[in-house]
Amino acid sequence: MEVRLKLYPPLSDAAGAAEISLEVKDEAMLGDVVEALVARFGNGMRRHLFDTEGRIIPSWAVFLNQMIVPFNQPGALKVPVKEKDEISFILNIAGG
């Protein structure tokens, strides 16, 4: 099935676009979307999503159809997604 992704920097730079469509397996979860994203765009994408120990960066917040799913919360990667869902990735950290 296909989901729609809105990417903010630095992911948008790694993908070369701010909005993309991504093919994932049926009954996919957010973790599968992350995997598909890395599979499509390679290490340029992986280095922004995982730390040097291979753990998902906890400060990524994902908005699934405008509902926030913070990646620092347990079970975030197991949230199910559906066909045509809109998923936004934004780095959670402000600072100014």
Binding site: H48, N72, A94
Partner: protein, 643 residues
């Protein structure tokens, strides 16, 4: 001149502007290693020399400049100097922090601290040329803008490398929202009204030239730390957006959480598209640069190519955009021009933006009328009004004279309940984003020792830790839950305040060291590498715990200063609006208020973590003694201000 090992210059310079007396004092290395530098030196001297009976504009108030301990070395992004004084905005501890070469020049001239006291009988500037220190007439500089002053000094001194500090017209007129500018508009000691303190001393500028080198004690250890710092920077996803957009990048965070605080902190949503960071990058950016040795490169210069502000060139940071939205303005050219005006007049962008927004709401509510405004309507969203009020504040014209006092003082003069629209903490206007929906952020604004401030701590730590890290470091997995967590938040806040204070002791940039995408990277940069850089430069063996304790010590001195001025728990509070009025918006924070019970519980835990009295917010004797501040404990005990 031979290189000295160690990042300290070795002397303090004191100038009495009333008498013209110049004193130089040797730096005691025990003192240096205890208070480190920057905010540590400034806060200690301010506490010792400015008691409660000295008012902010009293000549006896001090204005103290202290470059961070690592400023002048090759440590990346070690480019910050602290300015400290009793604040005319808050009446409490006041400080600001700026980048720019001036601090390095002061150290190269041989001084780790410049203490200014007294007031000159007429406008003067201070010329520090290595050993030579002169008070010179500034009659020809008075009235000039910041950039004009900087350029005039460099021309008259016939040296383009001279570092300068100066005030603009706002500081001369003792506008309580005035700032001090470094090397033209390179850096700004923005907050707490320090430009007005400088103006009250009739001091237009300080020009400095230094030619000595700052050495490094252990070059091999320094190189190793440097390489590891670059490694962390290269993998931290926090960095690329900063490098691409500068601080404008923070817009995206506000958009997704719906925490703009537009129209005087009422709206979470706002038509932000015209202010998209991509717009600034593609249409207006002419230069991307960095502070000395910084690999992040987040500084930006913009130029307006056409229209009524055509030809304007200035630097601009995110808070300018945020404060434009506070005034309901979403015109990118107006935001750039607002930055230009504040930079040239010498104003604090956050204070001025919020104060104008306050006036706009007063006008909307009928608390200010056309007679008060001399016929100038004050609607939200009108960029012309926004600019005109900025100018009027700088020159204290008409309503600007009232607003030049800051929103709280202006509200008290207006009366009729206007105080509820003054969005401030301890008298200093709000900064950063709306805290509704994020209670630890709300408490962080309240506990800041210089009034509302997102840079006094790192309230964003809750957004980047895992529950496991929350449990390990702050005693509860709940610390990682942004919206619903409670336990561990107070401990997280206290730790993050100590953490970022390290940066102000060493002169390290917050964005290069004290913001990150993971706790591992944050601790690595902000504690481990910061400590290793300090030890490598000075041949010391400070532990990471001792460095964090140095941060805690400086924070406690500032707190003690405020306590001595009469502040207790009642001052650690945010505006009532955040408790009572729902944030208007459709984002995750839409409809939220700050839950007062949660706020109080986090504050209780915070005081407990700090070793302060939970009921009064006052410091305990044992806490101050643990930090080596027995004399301050005794002073507070004499004044019956211990917790």
């Amino acid at each position: 001149m031979a290189k000295r090992k160690g990042s300290y210059a070795g002397k303090f310079l004191r100038v009495d502007l009333s008498t013209g007396k110049v004193e130089k004092q040797d730096l005691d290395l025990d003192f240096a290693h205890k208070y480190i530098g920057g905010r540590g030196f400034g806060s200690r001297f301010l506490y010792d020399e400015v008691p409660p009976e000295v008012a902010p504009f009293d000549p006896a108030n001090r204005l103290i400049f202290t470059p961070g301990a690592l400023f002048g070395t090759a440590v990346p992004a070690a480019s910050r100097t602290t300015a400290t004084a009793k604040s005319p905005t808050t009446g409490m501890h006041g400080d600001g922090h700026a980048s720019g070469r001036w601090g390095a020049m002061l150290k190269s001239a041989g001084y780790d601290m410049l203490i200014l006291q007294g007031a000159a009988p007429k406008p003067v500037y201070l010329w520090v040329d290595n050993e030579k220190v002169e008070i010179r007439d500034a009659g020809s500089l008075w009235g000039k803008t910041t950039m004009e002053t900087h350029q005039a000094l460099q021309e008259s001194l016939r040296d383009r490398e001279v570092g300068t500090l100066c005030i603009g017209p706002a500081g001369e007129k003792k506008v309580r929202l005035a700032s001090i500018f470094c090397d033209g508009i390179t850096g700004t000691f923005a907050r707490t009204g320090l430009g007005a303190v400088m103006g009250s001393k009739n001091l237009k500028a300080v020009a400095t030239r230094g030619t000595r080198d700052i050495g490094i004690a252990d070059v091999a250890a320094f190189k190793k730390a440097y390489q590891e710092y670059l490694q962390v920077i290269s993998v931290d996803p926090y960095v690329p957006p900063a490098t691409k957009y500068g601080t404008c990048r923070f817009m995206y965070h506000r958009v997704k959480f719906g925490i703009h605080g537009a129209k005087n902190w009422r709206l979470g949503d706002f038509d932000w598209k015209p202010l998209d960071p991509e717009v600034f990058r593609s249409d207006y950016q002419i230069k991307a640069s960095s502070c000395p040795m910084c690999p992040v490169r987040c500084r930006r210069e913009y130029r307006i190519p056409a229209g009524k502000y055509a030809g304007t060139v200035t630097k601009m940071e995110w808070e300018t955009i945020a404060r434009s939205m506070t005034c309901g303005v979403n015109d990118p050219e107006a935001a750039i021009y607002f930055s230009h005006l504040c930079n040239q007049y010498g104003l604090d962008i956050e204070g001025v933006g919020d104060t104008i927004a306050f006036a706009m709401e007063c006008y909307e509510k009928g608390l200010l009328n056309d007679q008060d405004t001399e016929g100038l309507p004050l609607p939200f969203g009108d960029s012309d009004v926004f600019m005109e009020m900025t100018r009027k504040i700088a020159f204290r014209e008409g309503l600007g004279d009232l607003l030049a006092e800051g929103s709280l003082r202006a509200a008290r003069k207006i009366g009729k309940g206007a105080e509820q629209f003054a969005m401030q903490v301890k008298g200093s206007e709000m900064s950063a984003a709306d805290p509704r929906g994020m209670p630890v952020r709300a408490v962080s604004y309240a506990t800041s020792t210089r009034g509302s401030d997102h840079l006094r701590s790192n309230p964003y730590v809750e957004e980047l830790i895992t529950p496991e890290e929350g449990l390990q470091f702050f005693g509860s997995a709940e610390a990682a839950d942004i919206f619903h967590g409670l336990q561990g938040k107070g401990r997280l806040l206290a730790w993050s305040e100590n953490l970022v204070t390290i940066g102000d002791l060493l002169g390290l940039c917050k964005f290069a060291y004290y913001r990150s995408a993971t706790l591992t990277y944050l601790r690595k940069k902000g504690v481990e590498l910061a400590t290793r850089f300090y030890n490598a430069c000075n041949g010391t063996r400070l532990s990471e715990e001792e460095m964090l304790e140095a941060g805690e010590r400086a924070f406690n001195i500032e707190k003690a200063f405020n306590v001595r001025e009469g502040a207790g728990r009642e001052k650690d509070i945010i505006p009532e609006r955040f408790f009572k009025e729902k944030l208007v918006g459709t984002g995750p924070s839409g409809g939220a208020v700050v839950d007062r019970q949660k706020f109080d519980l986090i504050l209780d835990e915070y005081y407990g973590a700090r070793g302060w009295n939970e009921k009064t917010g006052l410091q305990k004797k044992a806490t101050l003694e643990r930090l080596g501040l027995k004399d301050i404990a005794e002073d507070l005990a004499r004044r019956k201000r211990l917790g």
